[in-house]
Symmetry: none
Subunit: 204 residues, 4 copies
Amino acid sequence: MKPAAERCEAPSPRALAQRERILCAAQECFVRHGFHAASMAEIAETARMSAGLIYRYFENKNAIIQAIIVRQMEEGASAIGQVHSPDELASALLEVFEHWQRGDHADKNAAQFLDVTAAAAREQEIAAVVQAANAQFGLHLREMLRRNAIREGFALDEEALTSRTVLLQSLISGLAVQSIRDPAITRSNLEGALRELISWLMRR
Amino acid sequence: MKPAAERCEAPSPRALAQRERILCAAQECFVRHGFHAASMAEIAETARMSAGLIYRYFENKNAIIQAIIVRQMEEGASAIGQVHSPDELASALLEVFEHWQRGDHADKNAAQFLDVTAAAAREQEIAAVVQAANAQFGLHLREMLRRNAIREGFALDEEALTSRTVLLQSLISGLAVQSIRDPAITRSNLEGALRELISWLMRR
Amino acid sequence: MKPAAERCEAPSPRALAQRERILCAAQECFVRHGFHAASMAEIAETARMSAGLIYRYFENKNAIIQAIIVRQMEEGASAIGQVHSPDELASALLEVFEHWQRGDHADKNAAQFLDVTAAAAREQEIAAVVQAANAQFGLHLREMLRRNAIREGFALDEEALTSRTVLLQSLISGLAVQSIRDPAITRSNLEGALRELISWLMRR
Amino acid sequence: MKPAAERCEAPSPRALAQRERILCAAQECFVRHGFHAASMAEIAETARMSAGLIYRYFENKNAIIQAIIVRQMEEGASAIGQVHSPDELASALLEVFEHWQRGDHADKNAAQFLDVTAAAAREQEIAAVVQAANAQFGLHLREMLRRNAIREGFALDEEALTSRTVLLQSLISGLAVQSIRDPAITRSNLEGALRELISWLMRR
DNA sequence: AATGAATGAGAGTTCATTCAT
DNA sequence: TATGAATGAACTCTCATTCAT
């Protein structure tokens, strides 16, 4: 019999819970070792189930990777996406940056963010998911910029919104990268300048 | 017997050429599939030699990866590192960004930049190389900022230099990431804002 | 995940049976070709299982070799070790010698005895096991000599016991060697002299 | 062109010298690692010539092994074979035993003696060489026994000669084995008993 | 005669996936 | 539903042997 994941019935709560357990375990392993180096055996052990059982809930390892990517996208959106003001953005970013630097958090993990992005550069299917999530996050930032301008009593044309969003998003992604490449970065040499930069990106 | 690469004799021109051929092939394969997914067999085929021969020039696959990483660091430095003014920096960045977006260049490749960074998050030895290269590049940017200030007739304290360098470097890394995550970015919606941002980072 | 052999749980009967199957197959192959020349593929085929499966029960080929060595030591002890009188010793020796000569017995095999000994000359870990087993067997012979003396109404000083044990043990080992080097040896030209020699070693 | 070794011309002195160099190097490597584990590359390096050149003097690795075996047989004969009295035999044996124990001598090496013997158990061609050499050495011992009897004024029938020779030869082989298996053996706990045993084997 | 670069078969090992239970 | 033993393909790496020079 095909695994539940493939039949068209609605998945039972049990099945959803199992999928969740698998995904959490996979996340942990992928964060530790990357997609390729993490083995199904390790994921199974982490999820405290047999290797065979995983295949009842996911077609194969790649399906888990894809699910993890979707999950990470949603996570990313909720982590920095739920902010509504420049100050909140800066604070959220500083907090996430600390997670990135420590590298101990399964959901806010810079290395995995890079793994996912690199995978998107190589596989079209993944690219689609990643680009969509990125676009959605971009839209969110863009709206924040727009609303902030209105709140401050001025307007930004679409072109300006676009380019500022691009830069803002690049900066955020870049902080993920630099959290790994430059362990010397401290909150203190980041905070002030970051707030200034964000303010500047929100200027008239 | 140890491969020539490990004996203390100076490597022959032939050996250097072979190493180069292997590294180019490896680069190509790593760009296509990532470090783990690229097989020695594929590298050998790409380099048009037998798999066994590679081991005369590199101790093992990991040694190739390390060499590629060092190479990519040097490449990165020479690509954006040789600039001396904000304008040159912006231009160089825009040019590199186009390579990143196209993804067709083995040396200026965003996916591989992310692979290397992710690897640095997981392996200490690689972290050392990457952090050193990143630090050197950061120093270069910092000096550029300092000299620009002097040229413009003002001075920046060390603290300001540090935080601006951090932001500038994050922005650059972030553009690599976004070249993959956001294929909608065009030169036109990047150029103006980028120059402005760089100028702003160089302000009094 | 580590193979069952390494986890601390008690091995299941199934696992023990599989290990046994592997060891028997390995024994066969090692006897035929020696430790190095026997391939994992051949062992797997002999055990009628896939090569990969072996690694669920043994960490690597070396672990199999070590297990075989331990096994052979135990076998050696039980083959000639369980004797309590000079006559029993001679008889046991003559019987084992026939196995050695025929070379068809996996457990009482002269070539493998030599392989193991040669391996002990080159690898410290193996040396430890072999020396321990040899010492234990020596002790057994020594006690036999001592008890026989007492039975016969005399005593042997420690020095005499030591040197006679050394010679007796050398003789036994040497018969293993000569079973290969001299196929002309027959039971008839060995039996009488051997009993005489053993008696002589047990003299007052 | 076939290597000199295969053509029917008499080998030039140069060729003989080269063969000798190769054999010495091979001996060294075989003693260190055994036949299988010693690589042609290592042999070439030890002989300070290129790997390719070896094939001008030997058809393949197996031919070297065979030559080494022949060589070792001759060596063995000359080491213990040149003795003419029980006392000389004991002395020679004690001296050789010390080499065996130290394991540092390329020609009088117990591990290699066992390697060769084990190889004889597996390959007919090698068996022939080894058995011949062993038989010749046996004959020498036998003659020594016979002459000693005559010298002492008695005669030994053929049967007695045979069985005593077998035992003597086994003892010698066994000392090679025990030099590895029992590092506790000292000259002092061997010497007296060994001389006694040899005398006993030479008795009326 | 000599080199050592090159080959290619085959080694040990790992691991995603399947399947009998 | 769940297990984990079993498979087999693919991996990295080694090495005896060949060959252009």
